[in-house]
Amino acid sequence: MADFEVKTVETDLLICGGGMAACGAAVEASYWAKKKGLKVALVDKAAMDRSGAVAMGLSAINQYVDLNSGNNTLQDYMDYVRNDLMGITREDVVANIARHVDSTVHLFEKWGLPIWKDQDGNYVHEGRWQLMINGESYKVIVAEAAKNALAAANAQIFERVFITHPIVKDGKCMGAVGFNVRENKVYVFKAKATLVAMGGAVHVFKPRSTGEGFGRSWYPPFNSGASAFFTIYGGAEMTCQEVRFIPVRFKDAYGPVGAWFLLFKSVATNARNENYMQTNAAELEKWVPYGKVKPVPANLRNWLMMLDVMDGKSPIYMQTADAIKKIADQAPDEKAAKKKLKELEAEAWEDFLDMTISQAILWAATNVEPEVKASEIMACDPYFIGSHSGASGAWVSGPEDLQNSDTKGEYFWGYPNMTTVQGMFAAGDASGASSHKFSSGSHAEGRIAAKAAISYIVDHNEAPKVDQAQVDALKAAVLKPIETFEKFKDATTDPEVNPNYIRAKQYMYRLQKIMDEYAGGVSSQFKTSDRLLEKGLELLAFLKEDAENLAAGNLHELMRAWESVHRTFQAEAHMRSILFREETRWPGYYFRADKPSMDNKNWLAFCNCVYNKDTNEWKMMKKPVKYLSKL
């Protein structure tokens, strides 16, 4: 096998990831590290300028609480998130992000992000909590501030280094292991604290398009469960692993619908022109109290649409032309109406061009002019994105000052955003039960976690005692797929088909097939049951064993191999958590056919789990949901 050099990096704080949360962490950590004379290192598998979910840009900042206007309170935001997640939420963590997110957004503007303003100089809201932006360079700008901050603190940045494993000993995190995807180098990062911010996961389930468009999932194919694996494998308690997110988007290219629903006040209908939110409204009764709140929770809106789809009433259409006409008709005269129409048209296209360019291509290729013709919408496939309307992630400590006597014993253990593993912090998609933080809230949460991590380092300022045998074993494990390929590739005439190993891509397909068919993917209309899950877990166990025989022909494929190992752990935590929760609570995300109703009496609780890598066992736990305020 080719020689791999081992690079050892010693630092105080290690930030894993380079996305929104990691960039927030970088800014905040640099500020405090500079004051305290500490070292920071950041590692991203890609280039920070365009890495993670915001690579393409975004057209809106989805969390701006606007406390400063006096129109909203922290309580308002907590109510919104709790209701959207059908009661399952950590109010302390949600409130903590909400009270800091405005300052993050104000910094974005100072860094050069163009936020839309009205004639009076106020931000233009898409909806109550969302701001419209010219966001093509959103990530470039946020990364620029992060890199400048890191430079000011003499911090190190490692791009194109893929993190594979945490280094954990005796319940304490001492850093991470990874490899360079461009050069034969294995990295060992030794750190006093480690902040996990490597996004969520896609391609755990089979996507709808399986040809060339395989990569056109709503969630970016480059986020592959690294956060989940890192925290699970490191022994951290996980939460809400059953709470996947299934967005409804424009069909096939998954263009955003937010601007249509919120800004343009568009209506979606079934093929017979019926508004399913009205015709299926009676169904909401089954999901009270959440069925009765405004806005209707995202998963219930999905569910009312899915009912029509299952009834054969699709295609489902976003009535774009009606919406645009309604707005233009409000203009005082024909000239003004024409001008308004032009404006709306540009806004509609920009919404796609800023964040889902594929949808613009699809519209152009099918001759769609939104002001003329309606467009199909549809539920995508399941994703793990705890920062959005899903909730999966690590179970983290909340801040001390946002606890009451009831919550403190359960939700606070010293440092905000620290997982149950000492010295391991999580933010953004990596931390759970705190949905609706989106890009801005993830950045704010990265800042919260980074300040806490620096505080932890100051309190525990001792060099990490990394066990060399453990590092050697990890290095061997990380490189094994290359070794396996080298060893066996010439045994057959086609290196693709070889009984000695499994290639990274086929491994991923196998995982996706299991999840799709047993855990309620697209082809099973998001429906599953105890028996299906048990069978799925049986098949997953074979897959996990076969991960030992993954083969990689080069560094790129080695990354693909590890991505899918990471996904496997996300998949297992997901299936086990759905199985553990004996009810259906988010019918528009998944439906348990054997337990078709919500059971608030027994299951208004978190499903948490812990994995033990030494015994390969999972422990499932119910943890109480405790609100800061009375409902």
């Binding site: 800014v27 905040e28 500020y31 405090w32 004051k35 890609a46 280039a47 300028d49 365009r50 690579a55 393409m56 406390l67 400063n68 006096g70 922290l74 409130a95 009270r99 800091h100 405005d102 300052s103 104000h106 910094l107 100072k110 860094w111 050069g112 992000l113 163009p114 010219n134 360079s137 700008i141 620029e144 501030a145 400048n148 901050a149 398009s209 040809g211 060339e212 468009g213 395989f214 990569g215 056109r216 970016p220 194919p221 290219a253 048209e345 296209w349 920009e350 061009l353 360019i357 594929s358 613009a360 291509i361 152009a364 290729a365 001759n367 300040k451 620096i454 990354m559 800061l628 305020s629």
Partner: protein
């Protein structure tokens, strides 16, 4: 193949210290063929059509053609990004529909490279245990808002 490279236009980024498209692709897809000194997308089915490579290519050699498994042929969306704005051209399959051109700003008031993290608001206290983050509480306020915070809000306060 979602992103594709026009052979005649790609010069392999000879003049630069790194291959721009290879440097930027968030999914590690763009690679330079060292023999031909031309770049290519090594796994089109993993491409997100994020246009990061398109926007960064100094010779405008990269374009995107819709995924062949569900997008009808003949349309195109091209991008030209400068340091201040981005110009889009959308061409429809039906050539009778006039192509659409849009220009949107991409940054405002801060020159490229100049985003300074710490200089905008003072930080209220030097206490690692307090909830005050860098630039707070001043940065929680805008000039226009009615409610002025002189400390980070906590519940009910």
């Amino acid at each position: 193949m979602p992103s594709f490279v026009i052979k005649d236009k790609c010069d392999g980024c000879k003049a630069l210290d790194k291959t721009a498209c290879q440097h930027i692709c968030p999914n590690d897809l763009m690679v330079l063929d060292k023999n031909t000194m031309k770049a290519f997308n090594q796994d089109p089915s993993m491409c997100w059509e994020c246009y990061s490579c398109v926007k960064i290519c100094p010779t405008q050699a990269i374009e995107v053609r819709g995924y062949a498994d569900f997008v009808p042929m003949g349309a195109s969306v091209t991008a030209m990004r400068s340091s201040e704005d981005i110009l889009w051209t959308v061409q429809f399959r039906n050539k009778e529909i006039k192509p659409k051109r849009f220009k949107f700003p991409i940054r405002r008031g801060v020159a490229e490279g100049q985003a300074k993290a710490f200089d905008h608001y003072p930080t209220g206290d030097d206490d690692l245990k307090s909830p005050t983050l860098m630039s707070e509480p001043a940065g929680l306020n805008t000039e226009r808002g009615k409610v002025k915070f002189d400390k980070v809000p906590t519940l009910g306060k």
